[in-house]
Chain length 320, copies 2
């Protein structure tokens, strides 16, 4: 007999919290939490839908990881320290094997970031997972999308495009879910840049996470800050795992349009550019200057100093 709702919560989603700021976790009508004094609360909620955000057959542990990772990436983009998560899990049936995997993936990433699961909901329905993640940032230090200024430099962390390429390799059947290919690994195991985000608090003028494609997300940053962005295409970091499989222009397309990167796109005043090498070393994360902030609006791309047309925008869930 499959486990009931209350056994399910007790068995897979109730753990002794190691955080002393969790006054009351899973099991009552709501969680009771003690925000640290002098800090601002940061709150995000992201949803994964089966067949939209993950492929049929995706290992449950990867889904559990991803459900939290997408929210950790939002915390990273704000420069916040994540703390507490609420999980809403709608699923067709309570399959113990699937739940073992899902909980393992979720809890492992939560542990790595000292996040406590404090509440949520489990219901029967289509497989749809929402995590609401709460964290803190010292008052006045949050990173926003609105602070980019003309003359600032534009950076991206890591090597975007790998995840989008990994999705294509899985979709086309070229690679399987247990592949050790760098692209597939990155797609299935996003590594949200939480440490980098925290370190950027005092350095960056604006930041956001890249989840819907670098170019489309850059347009959002430009719009939020009321500036233009100029991306120099020859400065885009092209990962060896991309170049090993595809021609250069295809690699560039993955970098500009691929989704699910969960890297950080940020702007730095020129005066802070000298701190980047040290920051990359401290966070173990490549940081690439890919352009600059200019007067105007939107994003323009250049190659060899000349503006070139680049089609496509970011992913829109409800685009016609």
């Amino acid at each position: 007999m499959p486990p009931g709702e209350f056994e399910l919560i007790a068995r897979w989603f109730t753990r002794q919290s190691v955080r002393s700021d969790v006054l009351l976790g899973v099991g009552d009508d709501a969680a009771l939490l003690a925000p640290p004094p002098g800090q601002v609360l940061v709150a995000a909620a992201d949803t994964l839908v089966a067949g939209r955000h993950f492929l049929p057959g995706t290992p449950a542990a990867c889904i559990g990881h991803q459900a939290l990772a997408v929210n950790l990436s939002d915390m990273a983009a704000m420069g916040a320290e994540p703390a507490w998560a609420l999980l809403s899990l709608s699923m067709p049936q309570a399959d113990p094997e699937w739940l073992d995997g899902f909980a393992q993936g979720l809890h492992a990433l939560a542990d790595a970031h000292d996040v406590a699961l404090v509440g949520g909901d489990t219901v029967s329905g289509p497989l749809v997972i929402t995590v609401c993640l709460l964290g803190f940032v010292p008052s006045g230090e949050a990173l926003r999308r609105t602070g980019a200024r003309v003359g600032d430099l534009l950076y991206v962390s890591g090597t975007p495009g790998l995840a989008g390429a990994g999705l294509e390799l899985l979709r086309s059947g070229i690679e399987s879910f247990d592949s050790t290919d760098d692209c597939v690994r990155r797609f299935l195991h996003a590594e949200p840049r939480v440490t980098l985000g925290r370190r950027l608090r005092s350095l960056a003028s604006a930041a956001m996470d890249v989840s819907d494609g670098l170019l489309g997300d850059a347009r959002k940053l430009a719009a939020a800050s009321g500036v233009g962005l100029r991306i120099e295409l020859e400065r885009l970091p092209l990962a060896p795992a991309l170049l090993a499989r595809w021609p250069r222009d295809r690699c560039e397309s993955f970098v500009l349009h691929g989704g699910d990167d969960y890297e950080l796109l940020f702007t730095l005043p020129v005066a802070n550019a000298g701190r980047v090498a040290e920051l990359a070393q401290a966070t173990g994360c490549e940081l690439h200057c890919i352009g600059e902030i200019v007067a105007g609006e939107g994003v323009s791309c250049t190659r060899g100093g000349r503006v070139v047309a680049v089609p496509g925008t970011g992913f829109d869930h409800f685009a016609g």
Copy 2:
């Protein structure tokens, strides 16, 4: 052409907040919020699935209302003051007419409780709605399920059973969604007992909301407090709208087993029983003593002082 994801958020879910503690609302990677000093943060997340939590054809405004109401009820059960909501909305398509209704229902209830919508997610997928609601309670004053003591009195607010009866009237086609029947109204427009919950802080020894049926929820309260509950069946409040349609034993069954009441079940030390009439008057809410706390475990029901067997437990989403 249907609206895109970003137009959708801008048009239906971005409103100027009237709360000065919202430092940054919808539109960045996460919301920035200022919890009041000296208060504990209260967090809950509840999910509605089409066909499970609401019937096919339910007016969108009722779904928007319900999505927030179920979470407000959790705040009420903790004695908390609600403040900020995050909405995760998965829906098959962005239908402007449906969104008009949904947003109207959601925002009207949010306004009534001074709740600001500060973030969330919109994705395409099956109709599944999660609201994460955050609120506050003064440190040490939250109501929990664990505080009931032997000798305390057991109370329920309002007239439970109406919503379950309303669901049956709709399901059977006896009444339609625009019916003015009290049962149907209560099912479609839950009135979470937020004011009552706040007033109970200093009076009640334990509290929870009744959402899965009074009897099953009473069993959870008993288990959490490590006590037994004795319910005197003749003290159950039977609403006129129930008695007008059904025989007395059927009405009792709606009260004990019907879901979606969103009333409060709470326990009072006998010394506080004299405050109940004043509390009912102040909150405009009937309060009925239906039993007491006894040594032991579980819930027993009596009629004329004799224990009688009552079948059935609360609703379990994954019961076999």
